[in-house]
């Protein structure tokens, strides 16, 4: 490979001389740079005031999009959230609204 790409993200139709040997990807977790937020039709909206910080929303998210820092829920990663609503249902305290995207 003669060229270095950001985060090992080889663009589509990269010349064969420059792509990675054997299709190996050497930056682990670089899917982080792929945004799946635009898959969303519905959007969970976190209501801070109703949140009891039970964190039950954290493990149920298929897209690792519940942001927890220092054992506290701090927000939603909308870059990756696909709007499945699992967190909304998992919350025992009604701390999420689930609204159509764009509203």
């Amino acid at each position: 490979m003669s060229k270095k790409f950001d985060h090992d993200i080889i663009p589509a139709y990269t010349p064969w001389q420059e792509t990675t040997p054997g299709g190996v990807v050497t930056e682990s977790g670089n899917a982080h740079y792929f945004k799946t937020g635009d898959w969303r039709a519905m959007k969970p909206v976190w209501k801070t005031d109703q949140c009891k910080q039970c964190l039950l929303c954290f493990p149920v998210c298929p897209d690792s999009s519940i942001i927890v820092e220092n054992k506290k829920m701090t927000g939603i990663d909308y870059d990756h959230c696909k709007g499945c609503g699992v967190c909304v249902k998992a919350c025992p305290f009604g701390a999420f609204d689930f609204v159509p995207e764009g509203e």
């Binding site: 139709y13 990269t14 064969w16 792509t19 040997p21 054997g22 299709g23 190996v24």
Partner: protein
């Protein structure tokens, strides 16, 4: 000082593997390759190697485990034959696409059905387009030498491909013959230590191997893989030179035997080359200008070199120990024809499918081919280029 020994082909390959001391060997028994993992597992049991031996439950898993081990960063080897190679088929392509060096000793055996344990080349010839380098040996010495060189060829930075070390089942694998072994330390120095560029167990850099690559990437990956195969030719020759410096034994892409002024030639692969050399000597003693080309490297195919070697020959017989079932000639024949078509000189060319399922190839069979070639030269044309040698006709 080389070690003078007498070993069967399988023993010789197992000894080479002991000297190479790979990290992982994963294998499943199938006649006639079974002895290779058998001998090798004894080396493991007796602490003569550091290898982790994985006695898998199928050849598919053997190749899968080898891929897992190889991508993890291990120097990896295995052996199989016939249906075992067929069961590996899917994984052969994947190993090559991962650009993963590994050595697979293919002890050539007829592919079922009907089931037959004896030698022909239908197993490895079927896998010819799987992206593996293919070396073929004539006898135990070559099986041993090729096994050692294969490590270095596959691991070369310009190649990074898996290599098949093919030799004839029973004829080579089970016959005990004289052999010159290389001292352990010399083999060790020759193959060196394997250091993969990217590997799963590299704690400094986690990697991912074996992606889904859709239309935007797949083609480029295959093109890159094809380039590695192209690069392999020069590397095979370089490794052979280095090997010759160590052992005095010379290897090329093929061996030309008494070809300097030959008017009639046979191209053949494997143990039959030995029997054919005997016939060439006998015919030469009678003043006949006959020669022989023994192909060692089938992948990459040495097209230009072969065409050049045949440039001054009037007629050539291509002997295939497998049928291509394309109704128009077997693999070595069609590839040789392609090579000649793009060259200036075009000798009269005829195909013989021979020796299927272990049908013994006798000196008089080979004499017959040279006699047929004489007729072809006299006639100036080939009638019926797709022939069989040694099959019983009504």
């Amino acid at each position: 000082m080389a070690i003078r020994e007498k070993l069967s082909g399988n023993e010789a390959v197992a000894v080479a593997m002991r000297q190479i001391n790979p990290d992982v060997v994963a294998a499943f028994p199938i006649t006639p390759s079974t002895e290779v993992p058998q001998y090798f597992s004894a080396f493991v049991a007796n602490g003569q190697v550091d290898t982790e031996f994985v006695p898998v439950e199928s050849e598919h898993s053997a190749m899968s485990a080898c891929i897992g081990a190889g991508t993890a960063g291990a120097r990896t080897m295995t052996a199989t034959s016939a249906n075992g190679l067929a069961l590996m088929w899917e994984m052969l392509y994947i190993a090559a696409s991962c650009k993963m060096p590994m050595v697979l000793s293919v002890v050539n055996r007829a592919l079922s059905g009907p089931i037959n344990i004896h030698n022909d080349h239908s197993d490895s010839m079927g896998a010819r387009d799987s992206g593996w380098i293919q070396l073929y040996g004539e006898n135990n010495q070559e099986a041993y030498d090729n096994c050692i060189m294969a490590v270095k060829i596959g691991e070369h930075a310009d190649v990074q491909l898996p290599v098949m070390n093919c030799y004839d089942g029973f004829i080579t694998s089970h016959a005990v013959e004289n052999i010159e072994l290389i001292e352990d330390d010399k083999v060790k120095a020759f193959v060196g230590t394997y250091q993969a560029n990217n590997f799963l167990l590299n704690s400094d850099e986690q990697i991912a191997v074996g992606p889904l690559a859709i239309t935007t990437h797949y083609f480029e990956h295959k093109r890159q893989q094809a380039e590695s195969m192209r690069n392999a030719k020069a590397v095979i020759l370089d490794v052979a030179k280095e090997f010759e410096a160590m052992t005095g034994r010379s290897y090329g892409l093929f061996e030309s035997y008494k070809m300097e002024d030959a008017e009639r030639a046979i191209i053949v692969i494997g143990s039959t080359a030995g029997t054919s050399k005997f016939v060439v000597d006998a015919l030469r003693a009678k003043g006949e200008k006959v020669g022989l080309i023994k192909l060692r490297v089938f992948r990459p195919f040495p097209a230009e070199e072969l065409a050049e070697a045949l440039a001054n020959v009037k007629a050539v017989a291509v002997l295939d120990k497998c049928d291509g079932f394309n109704a128009k000639g077997a693999p070595l024949f069609t590839e040789t024809l392609s090579a000649l078509y793009l060259a200036d000189a075009k000798p009269l060319t005829v195909n013989y499918v021979y020796g299927l399922g272990g049908r013994d190839v006798r000196t008089d069979n080979i004499e017959q081919v040279y006699a047929d070639l004489a007729e072809i030269v006299a006639a100036g044309k080939v009638d019926g280029p797709y022939r069989y040698l040694g099959v019983v006709e009504a």
